[in-house]
């Protein structure tokens, strides 16, 4: 595979392969930043991969009081799923169990779109007949009485079918510390890109996968080509000197958001250089036949 080099960091001539998904976004607010964030973190917990979690979700950006509908601190969270029905189910369960329950929270639509998902329109039944419908300026809210006052929730939220899931970067480094330093830098940089989320823990995956496995029923198994301990015994992608690989997985509201996030990640990792961070940047794909969206690393260089 031919390689380019930017600031001493090798860039593989390969591409990330990503898939079309359904996505929605919420604005979750709370009485202060801590509790707005807590509701958002709980709601987006256990949402790393659609394979095992049903959806992929994370905080997109934190919002200042001046940017939220109720003038309190908040977070915009995004949720991705493979079908509208699954997205509706995940949305309802997660908001019902994690946002409704969080002290002082409120929940608003974070996206407009032609297709609407039920939000408060589904959760209102928790009010057991005491819920109040309110329409203000074209927005429809449900007010559900709870033990600390009222849970206010917008009735519906828009959904997009233009979302993309599975953009990725593989960061190959000489040591675990350096791989983590490069990955953390990429996570921080991509955190500034609106409309793109990193659903894995802290934005980083250490167990990249390939499709299928030797055992029956395994949809995915370890990516042995990038596992350093298997370098001698499998058809490895790793050259001598690479001892740790970490992956950044990106879901975006649009294809452009994914490309912008990958570009931001590549820039910061190449800026960090091979001494402190990654020796090489690669990307994961399935040969290009499964995913509709291909992001070639050479097109995303700084």
């Amino acid at each position: 595979m031919s390689r380019l080099t930017v600031n001493g960091v090798a860039i593989d001539d390969t591409f990330a392969e990503a898939f079309g998904m359904r996505a929605t976004a919420l604005v979750i607010t709370g009485p202060n930043r801590k509790w707005a964030r807590q509701a958002a973190v709980s709601m987006t917990g256990f949402a790393t991969s659609v394979i095992g979690c049903g959806c992929e979700a994370a905080i997109d950006v934190e919002l200042a009081s001046s940017e939220t509908p109720d003038g309190r601190p908040g977070c915009r969270v995004m949720i991705f799923a493979v079908s509208t029905d699954e997205l509706q189910k995940q949305l309802q369960n997660r908001v019902g169990q994690c946002v409704l329950t969080s002290p002082g929270s409120a929940c608003f639509a974070g996206m407009e779109g032609p297709t609407q998902l039920k939000l408060g329109a589904a959760l209102r039944y928790f009010g057991d007949g005491w819920q109040i419908s309110k329409k203000l300026g074209g927005k429809h809210y449900w007010r559900v009485p709870v033990m600390d006052g009222e849970f206010v929730c917008e009735a519906t939220v828009g959904m997009t079918k233009e979302a993309v899931g599975g953009g990725n970067l593989l960061l190959l480094a000489g040591s675990n510390d350096k791989a983590l330093a490069a990955a953390e830098a990429a996570v921080d940089a991509i955190g500034q890109v609106r409309g793109a989320i990193l659903p894995f823990p802290g934005g980083i995956v250490r167990s990249g996968s390939k499709v299928g496995g030797k055992y029956k029923g395994m949809m995915a198994s370890t990516n042995d080509a990038f596992a350093p301990t298997l370098r001698g015994v499998t058809k490895s992608e790793l050259e001598p000197g690479v001892n740790a690989v970490l992956e950044i997985v990106i879901d975006g509201e649009t294809s452009d958001a994914v490309a912008a996030a990958m570009r931001a990640g590549i820039k910061v990792v190449t800026d960090l250089g091979p001494e402190k961070g990654a020796l090489r940047i690669s990307a994961g794909n399935y040969g290009g036949k499964l995913g509709k969206f291909h992001y070639h690393l050479k097109d995303l260089l700084p």
Binding site: W130, K134, G137, G149
Partner: protein, 269 residues
């Protein structure tokens, strides 16, 4: 195109029914046909031309230059476009309007915005009794849209209101929001006796504690209210109020428990 303007020649000799003079009522009519419309409600039966000098040609922008408490039904059934009255109007201004904008720069009589379903009615002066309310025999009052009275409103404002927003900025008479079915009534400047009398659902937002309440209202505490903030911000964003009405944690009374009891009266702590 300039606004179609009806300039009042003199104080009308009889009550006038101005409900035909809306954008949809005048679409496609030439000036002669408009002047021939009969609007007088007594045996005089005067026409538009008898009472007004007509100028301009855009029926989507109608202006009444000069008003009178004898102007009844101004903008009734309005569906789109704008009507502006430079002066007072009589009864039933904007009754059953569905859309568009009706602005009355003077005072309005009784039943202004009666049973309106959409659009925006703004009265810069004061309004009479039964603001947004149904006529005798009708089951529901205002059913949508926004009704703003910059001055004072009479008794029974928002009677049997079902949907939408009514804001009265300089106080209103007794029994505001009586028999409300749902919707939102905002009263700054003080409400009269027993606001929310026999209300089933809906919200009455006041800028001060009510002078009196029906005994079937019950005190419901003052927790932090996101809805109060949303309402305050909406009223400011719509240009209805200049500063927040309720604050972060308003007092709440629930009622009227003589009927369904799912309504509320909120006022600042």
């Amino acid at each position: 195109m300039t606004a179609l303007t009806f300039t009042l020649r003199a104080q009308p000799p009889e009550r006038l029914d101005l409900s035909p003079l809306t954008p949809q009522g005048l679409a496609g009519l030439d000036r002669r046909a408009i002047a021939a419309i009969r609007i007088g409600q007594s045996k005089l039966g005067s026409t538009v031309g008898d009472n007004f000098r007509i100028s301009g040609n855009d029926p989507n922008q109608i202006v009444f230059d000069g008003g009178s408490s004898r102007f009844d039904g101004v903008g009734a059934g309005l569906a789109e476009g704008a009507i502006r009255v430079v002066g007072d109007v009589g009864a039933q201004a904007g009754r059953a309007m569905r859309g568009g904008q009706l602005t009355i720069e003077g005072d309005a009589g009784t039943h202004a915005g009666s049973c309106m379903r959409g659009g925006r009615l703004e009265i810069l002066g004061s309004a009479g009794d039964h603001l947004g309310a149904p006529l005798a025999g009708e089951l529901a009052g205002m059913n949508g849209g926004v009704l703003v009275v910059r001055g004072r409103a009479g008794a029974f404002a928002a009677d049997r209101m079902r949907r939408g927003l009514i804001a009265v900025l300089k106080g209103c008479g007794d029994h505001a929001g009586s028999r409300m079915i749902a919707g939102t009534l905002v009263v700054a400047g003080g409400a009269g006796e027993m606001p929310g009398y026999l209300m089933r659902r809906g919200s009455i937002l006041l800028d001060r504690a009510p002078r009196s309440l029906s005994p079937s209202f019950v005190e419901c505490g003052a927790p932090d209210s996101v809805f109060a903030t949303l309402a305050d911000r909406h009223l400011i964003a719509e240009g209805i109020l200049k500063r927040p009405l309720l604050g972060k944690a308003p007092h709440r009374y629930g009622g009227d428990n003589a009927v369904l009891g799912l309504g509320e009266i909120l006022f600042p702590a």
